[in-house]
Symmetry: C2
Subunit: 143 residues, 2 copies
DNA sequence: TTTAGTGCAAAGGCTTTGCAGATGT
DNA sequence: ACATCTGCAAAGCCTTTGCACTAAA
């Protein structure tokens, strides 16, 4: 499991950057790692409150931002929806199939698409850094 | 040119739906069609004000929404940026190369990628409706 | 005439920030 | 001790909405 790896990364980063190791940070990281793949700050906040009701949403936001900087989380902004946060430790890049009916997120990956994307960028003299592919439609259950 | 086509579509839609043909709507459509490809509501608003300073941003939003419903415009939401609006009349689907330095949007298209996306969706029992592919990186000038 | 459209300002929805007090180091 | 972190509330930012007035049809 990559929970341990993430915690190590987090701890190391805090030390290296002279940041403080607080109870809130621990709680937020734990809840984030225990949560589903594409959680919103609000849902995470609600999970966190079950454990530590005094933690504020501002702290959750501040630390989600920190997790993104460290590379433990990644923002996923889809249309009008609230920002979602993905766990990235020990995970490789993937794209998303998003069901417009039930909201289900399915992670998919295709090496050939990745390769063609790289070629497409190169053909335009473009140096790709990251990319996002989202396919909207109806999932197996909803179609 | 597809300006005429868009105006026709707009006019027809207004009549068909019993909506009113107003000076503001004309102005907004004209400015939208005259504007660049990936304009924000704010930039469009500023263009519009040069012609009709009394038009409000609310009206611009209301009518951009209408243009989207008609199929003349399409929302493009990218990361933390403001919503951008693309012209869609007479244009086919395309993806975007987005320069993280200068903000340039380049439109690209690759039939093979489209095909693989369709296959990928099908392999997951998913019925694709639309999709968006954005590749972030450095453009020719900025790299 | 009558009903949708407009402009304004206020409200919403989510995220960020300022600040005083709490807490790691 | 002292600088960061936190919680709260306020502010920001963009978009939407309520309302009285204007203007299409």
């Amino acid at each position: 499991m990559n929970t341990r790896q993430a915690k190590q990364l987090f701890s190391d980063h805090l030390s290296r950057m002279g940041l403080r190791h607080t109870v809130q940070r621990d709680t937020i990281l734990n809840c984030f790692l225990a949560a589903g793949r594409h959680i919103t700050s609000e849902d995470l906040y609600n999970e966190i409150r079950k454990i530590s009701p005094e933690i504020g949403i501002a702290t959750v936001h501040r630390n989600l931002k920190l997790l993104c900087e460290i590379g433990i989380a990644e923002e996923l902004k889809i249309g009008n929806e609230k920002t979602r946060y993905e766990q990235t430790v020990g995970r490789t890049h993937h794209d998303h199939l998003i069901c417009t009916k039930c909201g289900e997120f399915t992670e998919v990956h295709d090496k050939r698409i990745e390769m063609l994307q790289a070629k497409l960028a190169a053909a335009n003299g473009f140096v790709p850094v990251r990319h996002g592919l989202e396919i909207y439609g109806l999932c197996k259950k909803c179609k």
